[in-house]
């Protein structure tokens, strides 16, 4: 058992975990737990107030879409930024190396909520002071909230994934790179044919965990008025004064999302040849 160095490894449930084995569900104590769970579910449906749900269903659907768009766009763009960040930390000349290391340290050392508010309240107010920006085409976007949320999430994902890519680039065995050089490959070809694919391969198993962590960061954008799933639920709570129902619904939705993501990403991961 290797040491759990990062949270990413924690988010991946171990393959021997008893709950993921469907055949294990039929043991007597699990049947009782399952029956209790179903009884609790039925009681929750019958005894609690769910009259708000049909009314808010279209809004919740829109919120879910925004959550997913935020998640996937920030993961894709953040990953593209993570590659140079990781590479610069391993092999860059010293100004680049320091910049990349400093960027990752600062972003990973401060709360995402603070960064988000710095971007939205700080930069947002600053941009508004310049007439050049106010008159430009970019102002249509800059006066909305979602670009700031997207930027903060992307920067955060790039920093965390950049750190992982640093380890992945550094972890490719030196002999493989030397072998490639011995074949007379140019430095660029060594990178595109050996170093980069091998590093990517090493970083892939942690990606599932990082994406789940990113999903768990998305509700923060609700604090800057982006109407994601969490923001819709907050609205429900404020208009209906219900304590339990909206929060439990939200927990259930996030559980399902995480479950679907884990299963889907593991399926993708298994398609990559080892």
């Amino acid at each position: 058992m290797s040491e759990p160095h990062s949270l990413a490894s924690l988010v991946r449930p171990s393959r021997t975990s008893p709950i993921t084995k469907l055949s294990g569900l039929l043991e007597p104590h699990r049947l009782i737990l399952l029956a209790l769970f179903i009884a609790g579910l039925v009681a929750a449906i019958l005894l609690m107030d769910w009259s708000w749900l049909p009314r808010y269903l279209p809004k919740l659907w829109e919120g879910l879409q925004i959550t997913l768009i935020m998640l996937f766009s920030s993961v894709v763009v953040g990953f593209l930024f993570a590659l140079p960040l990781g590479l610069a930390q391993v092999s860059g000349v010293w100004p680049l190396r320091w910049l990349a290391t400093g960027f990752c340290t600062v972003i990973r050392g401060t709360p995402l909520l603070l960064q988000l508010w710095l971007f939205y309240f700080g930069l947002g107010a600053l941009f508004g002071q310049f007439p050049e920006i106010r008159d430009s085409w970019a102002w249509d976007y800059l006066r909305q909230a979602w670009p700031y949320g997207f930027i903060a999430l992307t920067v955060s994902f790039a920093a965390y994934q950049g750190e992982i890519m640093r380890g992945a680039f550094a972890g490719v065995p030196h002999g493989e790179l030397e072998a490639a050089e011995a074949f007379g490959m140019s430095r660029l070809k060594v990178f595109t044919r050996v170093w980069f694919p091998r590093a990517l391969h090493r970083a892939l198993p942690t990606l599932t965990g990082e994406i789940i962590l990113q999903l768990k960061s998305t509700p923060l954008v609700a604090t800057i008025t982006v109407m994601d799933l969490y923001a819709v639920i907050t609205q429900v709570r404020q208009t209906t004064y219900l304590t339990y129902e909206p929060l439990l619904f939200l927990v259930a939705v996030y559980l399902c999302l995480s479950g679907i993501l884990i299963v889907g990403l593991r399926w993708l991961e298994n398609r990559v040849p080892h």
Binding site: P4, G109, L112, G122, L247
Partner: protein, 239 residues
């Protein structure tokens, strides 16, 4: 640019907001430290329960860690905070004590601790599994009762294995305290936002708070690394 970086606003005395920020910073550290310690406690019980408990305990703990890892911290904190205070006040009214007001600091520590506990359970479980089996078996063979085995052998032997993960968790605890700002705890992030809103110099205040968080991260990183070196002193280096 003077309007953006008016450093006199950071002065310690009342026209400046320095004191407010520092008090918020201390509050954040208190919340993080309390939550972290509670998390370790939950983690030790959770890990021993997962490894040595009976089937029902193991399944329940599996569900606990799964929910903690799959649901956003912000949502968990809201759930623990509102549901917890609601249940507590209902219970105390039912028992005739009247409504109770749960102290903000205690509530925050409980909320952070419950989240941390889920991760700590996994870290400590992995660390216990990394102990050579013979060490624990030897302790049993000497006739030590299980609680003594835990205290004398398992916990000290698993510490060096748990430290990298636990150091990671401390970093997460300090950053997770910022989420309490959304619920309305006046820790560093929330007082920073109030100061920034009152003075309209958002960038400077958020950067100042960022410096404080970063300083905390870097200093504790240094301390944790020294402690890790101390805890690993008897182990053969893996690299």
């Amino acid at each position: 640019m003077t309007t953006i970086f008016d450093l006199s606003l950071l002065a310690f005395e009342p026209p400046g907001w320095g004191k407010v920020l520092l008090v918020g910073f201390l509050r954040s550290i208190e919340l993080a430290a309390g939550g972290y310690l509670l998390g370790i406690l939950i983690g030790i019980f959770g890990a021993t329960g997962k490894l040595y408990g009976n089937k029902v305990v193991r399944d329940l703990l599996e569900i606990y860690t799964m929910v903690i890892r799959a649901v956003p911290e912000l949502v968990l904190m809201l759930l623990f905070y509102y549901v917890g205070t609601d249940l507590l006040s209902r219970a105390s009214t039912a028992m005739g004590f009247g409504s109770v007001n749960i102290d903000g600091l205690t509530a925050g520590i409980l909320v952070i601790g419950l989240v941390q506990g889920g991760y700590a359970t996994e870290v400590i479980r992995g660390a216990i599994l990394a102990i050579p089996r013979g060490q624990i078996e030897a302790a049993h063979a000497f006739g030590m009762p299980p609680s003594k085995v835990l205290r004398r052998v398992t916990l000290p032997a698993m510490t060096p294995h748990a430290l990298p993960g636990m150091a990671n968790l401390w970093m997460i605890a300090t950053k997770d305290t910022a989420l309490l700002a959304v619920i309305g705890f006046s820790e560093l992030t929330l007082v920073t936002r109030q100061a920034a809103g009152a003075t309209q110099s958002y960038i400077m205040f958020f950067l100042a708070a960022g410096v404080l968080y970063l300083a905390l991260t870097l200093v504790s990183n240094l301390a944790l690394r020294r402690f890790e070196r101390y805890a690993r002193r008897g182990l053969v280096s893996a690299r």
